[in-house]
Every structure is written in C-alpha cells, then in structure tokens.
C-alpha cells in the first residue's frame, strides 16, 4: 500500500514510518522538511496521488489558542480536501481521550475541530483517541515547577508509551476504516502527580511534586477522570518501569 504519514518525522510518526516500511509498504514521509506542507498545500497533491492510507500525526508548531485552532483547521481542511480528491481509502488521525469534554482548553477545542473536519470530509476514517504519552512527563513536571516544587494535578492519569501508540497506529493503518473512534491508553492508572513524582525520582530530580488540583493542563482545570478513558480502551504493553528502562536513567 501507499501510505502517507503527515508528521512522519515526529515522535510517533518516525516510529510508524519505520514499522510500515519494515512491513514493505511504500511510505511517504510528510513534513515541511520533506516538501509536504499541509498549511501551504505544497507537495500535498503530488504526495496524495495513488495513496491508500493517510495518517495525520502532525502537531501545531505553536500552542497559543488561536494558532492551534488555525493550524488544525487549515491543515485538516487542506489535507482532507486533497485526500478526498485523490480517492484515499482510509484517513487516520491521533486525537486525545475526552478531547470534546475538556472545553476549557483551546488545544482540546482545536483537536475537536480537526476530528469534525475528518468526520465531515467524506473520506473513510478512523480517529485514535489516545491518553497522554509517557514522554510528556518531563514537560508536565517543568510546566508545574514553582521553585523547588513541581505542582501537578491530582487527576487520574493513564499515560501510554509513544512506542505503543505507534504500534496501534500501524495496526489501524493496516485495518479497514471504522468511521469512528478507538481509544488507546497505557497499562497503568494512577494520578498525574504520582506519575510525575515517580519520573522525577527515577531521574534523580530533586524537585518535589505537589499534588495540586488547581494546576491547569493545557489551559484546563482537570476533573478526576478528565484524562482517562471512560469506556473500553485498548491498552499498550509498556508500563512505566519498562518505559523508564528504555530511557537510560541519568546518574
């Protein structure tokens, strides 16, 4: 199959590209660096020619509310219009678990817009709603840092390893479109503060984690189950410890 991976140079994208190529598929890496730009439309039509599956893993270069909305709307419209014209048979995008319920967050609202563009495009699709990646833990710790402490929400958290995400994405890419959602999550569930605490501990980071429910995540205050799947979700195989081993702990 010919598969275009938009954001194919990123954290998940590069893993998905590698997996699909290993399986012998013709994979096009879509990224402004490879001459495929979903915002300007550059290279898009040519890349889409004869494409069977499009996987959209691109993320906004800026997290400002307006910029995020503009990015996902423009990129989504351009990408889906090109995909429809090229007769793409399956469009796959990765979104966020409960994105439509966390309306305080501009980022989440933009992801919902992206989902809606896909749903209304007329291209067969599968939207993968994922929990947060374990790779985000460092960033969460940093954004909550106040002096020697890191304030982190005490909401429930079920992070998934990027590797697991790429496995799921690859699986979906090789399956028929379901024209709906699937949810994926990590194998362990605890509070966000607890995960960050464990991470800092393993990293020998001296910062102390404070569980603080007034800490905002992407602009939103989190309720208890805001970030975890409420129904059945596919679970990745890599837990925190296994993932940590793969990171190479600093001494």
């Amino acid at each position: 199959m010919k598969i275009v991976v938009i954001g194919g140079t990123g954290l998940i994208g590069s893993k998905v590209v590698e997996k699909l190529r290993q399986l012998g598929h013709q994979v096009i890496v879509g990224s402004p660096n490879t001459g495929i730009n979903t915002i300007t439309g550059e290279g898009l039509a040519e890349a889409m020619k004869g494409t069977d599956v499009v996987i959209d893993l691109a993320n906004s270069p800026s997290f400002d509310d307006n910029a995020v909305m503009e990015f996902f709307r423009t990129a989504g419209k351009n990408l889906l219009a090109s995909a429809l014209n090229a007769g793409v048979k399956h469009h796959i995008a990765v979104s966020i678990v409960n994105a439509d319920k966390i309306t305080d967050s501009g980022y989440m609202r933009a992801k919902v817009v992206q989902e809606n563009i896909i749903k209304e495009s007329g291209v067969p699709y599968t939207i993968i709603r994922s929990t947060q990646f374990l790779e985000f833990l460092a960033g969460i710790a940093n954004s909550g840092t106040q002096g020697s402490e890191s304030h982190v929400s005490g909401a429930q958290f079920q992070p998934i390893a990027a590797e697991d995400v790429s496995v799921f994405v690859t699986q979906v890419a090789l399956s028929a479109p379901i024209n709906g959602y699937i949810e994926i999550a990590g194998p362990e569930r605890s509070t966000m503060a607890e995960f960050v605490g464990r991470y800092l501990y393993y990293m020998n980071d001296p910062r102390k984690v404070v569980s603080d429910n007034n800490t905002r995540y992407f602009g939103a205050l989190l309720s208890e189950n805001a970030l975890v799947p409420l129904g059945l979700a596919k679970m990745g195989g890599i837990n925190f410890d296994k993932w940590m081993k793969g990171q190479g702990v600093k001494s």
Binding site: V27, E46, K77, A81, S82
Partner: protein
C-alpha cells in the same frame, strides 16, 4: 617501492583533486559536472561511465540525478527513459553502501539475481557492465545520494581509484548541493519573472477580452498546461457560469461547447464547492470524480477532451469568492498558481466592478432619457406613448397596469393598462373592467405599504391561482414588479411592470418619473378646471360691468332714506333674506349692493339675476345650472347662479316676475340650501344669501295666484321699503346736482350751476319714474344746455305713466275714472270673468247685467283687462 607508489599515488591524487577543484568551480550546468569528472578521472584510470543519484527524503528511495549522456552503454536501450525517471527503494546493496564509510564494489554477476535489486542493474549486466563502485554522498551529516562508477572490465577499480572516489565524494556532494540550490534559485527566478510578466500583462486589463488575451498569453508559458477555463459566480450567488476559456483547445463538438458556455452550474454540484472552500489548489482526477457520481456536464466534457487531471483554484478578492480557475495540468506549483490566481482575481474584480459601473451608467442614461420623455408629458396619451416608447422598446418591459388612488383616497382607478395583454383573454378583460380595486385589496395594500415595491414570480403567482398572473404569463416575461407611485410621502397609485429583470435603480427611477408625470397630469386637469371656472366668472363679470349702475353711493339724507339706512345696517351683517320693495327706478339694486358690501360676504362678487329679463324656459337653467345634454342646446355643462353665488350674495331682481315652476325650485333652494342642476343627479350644497327685489305688491300677487304664498313668506323676512322720489323732495336738489355733475363730465360740458327755478320745477313734479326718471331727465337737459348754467329742464307734460301707478291716489280724477280703473282691476283678477261664481260682478256685489252696462258706459273693453301690465 610501496612508499614510492604511495607517494606517486598521493601526488596523483593531489593533482587530480586540485584539477577537479578547479573544474568544479567552473561547473554551471549539472551535466557538465559528470562529464568533467568522467574525463578528468579517465586520464588516470579506466572505467566506462559514472553517474550520480539522489535520495528522496519523502519515501526513502533514490533516483537518477546526473547522467552520462556520452558514454553510458544504455543510451540506445528502449527503456532508458523509464529507468532514468524511476525511483528505487533503498534496500539491499544500497543499505550496505549507506553503512560503509568508503565506496563499495559490487560485481554485477553476483548481485544481479538478488531479490529487490534495482531494475537498472540487470540492464547494465546485459549491456556488458561487470563492476560498479558506489559511494554515498553526504551533506550536513545526512546521506543525500550516491556516486556510481561503472566498468566493463573486471578489476578496474584499484585501491587508488577507490581512495580517489572517497576523497572526491565531499566535493561532489557540495557541487551537487550547489546545483540543487542553483536549480531552486533559477526556478524561483523563473516563477518570479513569469508572475512579473503576467502582472504587467494584466495590469492594463480593462475588459474581459483583454483579460482573456493576458491569461492565454501567460498560461501558455506554463509547462504541461493543456487547457483552462475560468468560471464566475453568478449574481444569484448559487450558480457559476463560464467567464472565459482556452480557445486553443480543440473542440470535439461545437454545440456541446456552446451549451456548456451558456449553462449555469450549481455551486454545490459536489465539485465546485470543494474548490471554493479550499485555500489551496486542489488536484482532481476526472475519472475519479465521475466515478464518485458527479453529474456536472463540464466534467464529462473534460473527459471527452481527454483531460485526466484538473487543478481547481478559487479566485478570491478580499473575502469574496469570485469564481474558479480550472487548469488541465498534472502537477501543482502552489506559489506560482496562487500568484496567477491572485492576479486574475484582481483583474476579474475590476472587470466586474467596471461592468457594474457601465450597467449603472447605462441605467442612469436610460433614466435621464426617460425623464426627458416624461418631462414633455402633459396628457395621459402622451404618457402612454412615452412609456411604450421607452419601456417596451428599450427595456423589454411591459406596463401591465397603472392605478391611481381616487380623490376619496380609497378606491383605485385604472389609469392605464396594456390592452395587448388581453388580446387573447377578453373575458378576463371584461371581468377586470367590472372589478373595482381599492387600496385595501391584498396585492395593492402590500405594494402600497412597501418601501421599494415587490417582485412576484409570474410562474409562482400563476400556480397560486392569481388570475392576472395567467395573463402575465402570456408575455413570457418572468417577473412582475409592482411599485407604489409616490409624490413626496403621499401614495398616489401603483404601477405593475412585467420584465425578466429590472434593477432596483431602474425600478425606483421609473416609478418616481411616472409618479411625477401622473401628478402633473392630475394637476394639469385641475388647472384646466380652475381655468374654465375663472373664464366663466370673468365672462359673467364682463356682462355685469355693463349693467351696473355707476354710482357708488346712495344720495339722499331725507327722513325716509334715514329709515332705509337704519334697516340696512341692522340686517347687513346677518345672512337673512332681504326683500327690497319700491317703485320702479327707486334704486333697489343699489340697496342690494350696499347690503352685500356691508356684509361679511363683501369679498366675493354679488351675483345678480334679473328674473324679468329671462325667458321662462331658461330661468331654471340660469339659476341652477344644467348638465351637458340636459336639454336641446345644452351643449356644455353650465354652472347656475346659485352655485356661482356660493358663499356670496345672490340678488334676484324683479322676483315677482318669476314663473311658478321656478318659484317652487327657488323655495326648495332657500329651504334646503342645496340645488340640483337641470338634468343632473348630483345635489350641490350652497351657502347663499338672498336679496330679492320687486316693484310689485307681492301680497297682491299672492292673492292673484301668481306668486306662491310659501315663497312670499320665505322672502318677506326683512322687507325694506324704498320711498318714491316724490316723497323725498328734500333729496331732489342733491340728486340733481349729482347727475348734473356726472353727465356734464360725461358730455364734456362745464355746468356749474342749476337755477333755483329748475330745482323748484323738479320738486313739484310727481316723478312716476323716480330717481331713474330724474337721472334721464337731467341727462337730456344737460345735453340740451348750451352754457354753464342749467336753466331749463324738460319735464314731460303727458302723465301717462302716473296713471299706471294704480295704487297711488292723487285725488285728481273724476269718479268715472275711478270706477273704470277699479272695474278693470277686478276683471283682471277674475281673469275676465264677469258674472257667475268667482266673477267680477260677485266681487263688486252688483248684478252681472249692471256690470255689463257700466262697462259699456265707461268704455271698458276686453283689451283693457286682458292686457298685460
């Protein structure tokens, strides 16, 4: 030996590197590089040819970049072009090259049968190539491509050769990077100059045909373009139509093309909307869209033309979509196409704006012309002609109907309508004629209350059962436009126009002009009426002037006149009917005028009717007017004196002479205060003050049955009795002097004095003709006087007239004379009947025979008592 060899090699390598360095700086064309490399290296080593391939970053493949078009053994291979353009996966042998630091040598016979070997390897093998040396080319620590060297002799690639290749690889890499960058810069430059040329071409564009030329000149330069079309969004905002298209495309079917060009395609046809919604150019596969089920005819036409892929770009000016540019081209150069589109969009927006200006100008010119036509209009016929000339001939619009609100402000009167509409529908026509429209009728009410009128779709109206719409349909025109006709804020009517399309400007203009024209016509009609009325009044005034006594004041201060003045001043201010009595010549009209002039009605003209001067059969028409055709000779409508005297005073002189029929009408007019024209149905309210005069004794007339008693009582509300001149001898001198002055002035004589003898003479005369007799006597005397003193007056000696004043006892007659006069009087009253019941003998209480003999004795004959006095 080894050292020597090594040093030789190093020297060789150094020389080669130096030469190559110089060569590479001279490289301008990319294939020069491979030629230079090959020729320079061949001076030291044997090999067949070399090439450079590049790695595609998107899909992990590599493909040919620099080819040796001189020494390659495949130049004549039929599949060469395909090999050159193909992309090869980075597998197997190439992965090994990527892992290695230096070049890797492959023997073709060893690898040719390996799985996933690039397709060109077996071809080279077949062509006799034995070995290939492949070296990866790196840029910024990333592999960007490969340097391939081929040989048909085994063992060609010595260690020195391999070292050399490894040494020169970075130089080749940087040369290639430069070439790529140069290519990009060149491409960008070309695009810029293309756009600049296009921009220059398009900057001067004023009209659609100029745009057509500019677009076709520019797009012709686009490589790979086989055809284009620009569609423009129609005014309805829902459909698109052809704006301009590539005339160089061969046309398979002219009829089909013409049909396409004149068709409007809905924007939401599943294709156009996608282009309009997209910020970026979209590539469409014609086949795929047809398979998707899109029906639009142009898509199928493209297929017929052999167009496989179309690029659609929206043409947008500001935030408004103008249309779509469709290009039959295989690939999208975003920047270039978007540049083209923005230029076309601006030109198109300008042309559209320009066209709108032209249309508006034409409309304004039209309205100006129409206004000129309308300005000349004075009558309805003129208006009809003007409307027909302009609307029908120029706008292809029909005036179905114009209605005008009647004076009552409620009914709508058909002012004008197009009878040709009803040529095939006489029934509806008759029905419509019989129907009275009002401002409350649904359609008209809606129109009148609207700001700028309404538009009705003829077809829809006809479907909904509007009878008129069925008529409208016969014209084949699509819309009915209805507008209120207004002058200022006042509705004066409605206009119904039929047309396919009329702009608001035109409609408002037409309605305004026609409103003014109708208002003018109405004003003109009113003006004509007023004019006629004024002419009537003027005519009457002229008549009057010749009749009016010339004195402006009443002469005389005697006791009896003082009493008259007192009565006049009492009654003048009221509207009471005044009855002026007095002998002939006592100045009854003068008194009537004085009463009028002292009344609140003095600003209006007093109207005078001399009842005695009119033939009996014309009295009525004179007093009450008549309608046209009321009787033979009534060729025109005539306004009666009663109407004429509305809010003024009507003076009926000699009212005693009025025929009996007229009396009853007069009575009614006085009682009801309204009159009816002869032959008319309309009742006209009047407010008239009556002053009537007679020299007859009305009581006697009533007794004689010649005057209606009820009328008499109506008239005798405020009688004023004018004294005869003989009773006011004290005024004779003043009157004489007044007349002497008047007539001496008229006759040009200077008479300053009247002798006392003359005055005495005048005083002693009995004056049966009263003041009028005095006036005429003085007039005659003045004419007969030769000097400045009036010494003599010619008083008539024959007193015939005095005899006729029967009521005045002068005690100078014989008994027989008295008897005779009395008998004649009684006989007259009895209409000549002598004896019997109601006969004169009964009244005189003598036998009939006695009366007969008395009559014979006194000489009373039939002529005496039947004579009219």
């Amino acid at each position: 030996m080894r050292d020597q060899l090594h040093s030789a090699t190093t020297r060789n390598e150094r020389d080669i590197l130096l030469d190559l360095g110089q060569d590479l700086t001279r490289v301008r064309e990319k294939n020069d590089l491979i030629i230079l490399l090959t020729e320079r290296m061949k001076t030291y080593f044997y090999f067949c040819h070399a090439s450079v391939s590049l790695i595609g970053q998107q899909d992990n493949t590599f493909s040919a970049f620099l080819l040796d078009n001189t020494y390659s053994p495949l130049l004549k291979y039929p599949g060469y072009a395909k090999l050159v353009s193909a992309k090869y996966p980075l597998t197997g042998i190439l992965q090994a090259v990527l892992q290695a630091e230096g070049p890797i040598l492959y023997l073709l016979e060893e690898i040719v049968n390996q799985p996933m070997i690039p397709a060109f390897v077996p071809v080279y093998y077949e062509a006799g190539i034995k070995e290939v040396l492949i070296m990866k080319l790196m840029n910024e620590e990333k592999p960007i491509g490969f340097f391939h060297v081929y040989s048909d002799t085994a063992g060609s690639f010595s260690t020195e050769f391999r070292n050399l290749v490894q040494f020169i690889a970075p130089q080749i890499s940087s040369a290639i990077s430069n070439i790529i960058k140069n290519d990009e810069i060149l491409k960008e430059k070309n695009e810029k100059s293309f756009l600049l040329d296009f921009s220059e071409g398009i900057a001067t564009v004023k009209t659609k045909s100029e745009l057509e030329d500019a677009v076709s000149n520019a797009l012709r330069k686009l490589t790979g373009l086989r055809g284009y079309i620009i569609l423009k969004i129609n005014d309805d905002g829902l459909t698109m139509g052809s704006f301009l298209y590539d005339t160089s495309v061969p046309i398979p079917d002219m009829d089909e093309l013409n049909a396409l060009v004149s068709t409007s395609f809905p924007i939401n046809d599943g294709l156009q909307s996608r282009v309009l919604d997209s910020q970026i150019p979209l590539l469409f596969s014609v086949e795929l869209e047809i398979r998707r089920g899109i029906q639009s005819a142009y898509l199928h036409y493209w297929k017929k033309l052999g167009f496989k892929t179309m690029v659609g770009l929206r043409l947008r000016h500001g935030d408004t979509n103008l249309g779509i540019l469709w290009l039959n081209i295989e690939e999208i150069n975003i920047e270039l196409l978007q540049g083209v589109c923005s230029q076309i969009s601006i030109a198109m927006a300008n042309i559209i704006a320009n066209e709108q200006v032209i249309v508006k100008q034409a409309e304004q010119t039209f309205l100006l012309d129409f206004s000129c036509e309308i300005a000349r209009v004075r009558t309805k016929a003129d208006l009809e002609a003007a409307i027909f000339k302009v609307l029908d001939k120029i706008l292809h619009a029909k005036v179905a109907m114009i209605t005008v609100i009647a004076d009552d402000g409620y009914n709508l009167v058909r002012f004008m309508f197009d009878e040709t509409l009803f040529d095939h529908a006489r029934e509806v026509y008759d029905e419509m004629l019989g129907k009275q429209f009002t401002i409350e009728e649904t359609y008209n009410a809606k129109v009148l209350s609207s700001e700028d009128g309404l538009v009705f779709n003829v077809e829809e109206e006809a479907m909904s059962g509007n009878a008129l719409a069925a008529l409208w349909q016969t014209t084949g025109l699509k819309n009915a436009y209805s507008l209120p006709l207004r002058v200022g804020d006042r509705n004066i009517g409605t206009i119904w126009l039929l047309a396919n399309h009329l702009s608001q400007l035109i409609l408002r203009g037409i309605a305004a002009q026609i409103s003014i024209a109708i208002a003018n016509i109405q004003a003109n009609e009113k003006l004509q009426n007023y004019k006629k009325q004024l002419e009537n009044e003027n005519l009457y005034l002229k008549e009057q002037i010749s009749n009016i006594y010339n004195f402006s004041e009443i002469i005389g201060n005697g006791a009896e006149m003082q009493e008259v003045y007192r009565l006049m001043s009492l009654v003048a201010n009221s509207a009471t009917t005044v009855l002026v009595l007095g002998e002939t010549g006592t100045g009854k009209e003068l008194i009537a005028r004085a009463i009028h002039n002292a009344s609140p009605r003095k600003d209006k003209l007093m109207v005078k009717v001399n009842c005695a001067a009119l033939p009996a059969n014309l009295v009525e028409s004179e007093l009450f007017g008549h309608e046209r055709g009321a009787f033979t000779g009534a060729i025109d409508r005539r306004i009666g004196k009663f109407e004429l005297a509305n809010q003024s005073t009507l003076f009926l002189d000699e009212v005693g002479e009025l025929p009996l029929e007229a009396q009853s009408k007069l009575l009614r007019a006085i009682q009801e205060r309204e009159v009816e024209r002869v032959g008319g149905k309309q009742i006209i309210k009047v407010d008239v003050r009556l002053v009537v005069a007679t020299n007859r004794n009305l009581e006697e007339e009533v007794k004689a049955g010649r005057f209606r008693a009820d009328l008499y009582f109506r008239l005798n509300v405020f009688p004023i009795m004018l004294p005869p001149l003989r009773n006011r001898t004290e005024d004779i001198e003043a009157l004489t002097l007044f007349f002497v002055e008047k007539y001496s002035r008229n006759s040009g004589r200077i008479i300053r004095k009247v002798t006392p003898g003359v005055i005495q003479q005048l005083r002693s005369y009995s004056w049966p003709g009263n003041v009028r007799e005095l006036e005429h006597l003085i007039e005659r005397s003045v004419l007969l006087t030769t000097n400045s003193t009036l010494q003599e007056v010619y008083i008539p000696t024959n007193h015939l007239l005095s005899e006729r004043s029967e009521n005045k006892e002068q005690f100078n007659r014989t008994l027989d004379e008295v008897d005779r006069t009395y008998i004649i009087g009684v006989l007259k009253r009895c209409r000549g009947k002598i004896s019997g019941h109601g006969g004169a003998a009964a009244i005189l209480d003598i036998p009939g025979n006695t009366l007969h003999s008395k009559m014979r004795k006194l000489g009373v004959t039939k002529t005496d008592y039947f004579s009219k006095e």
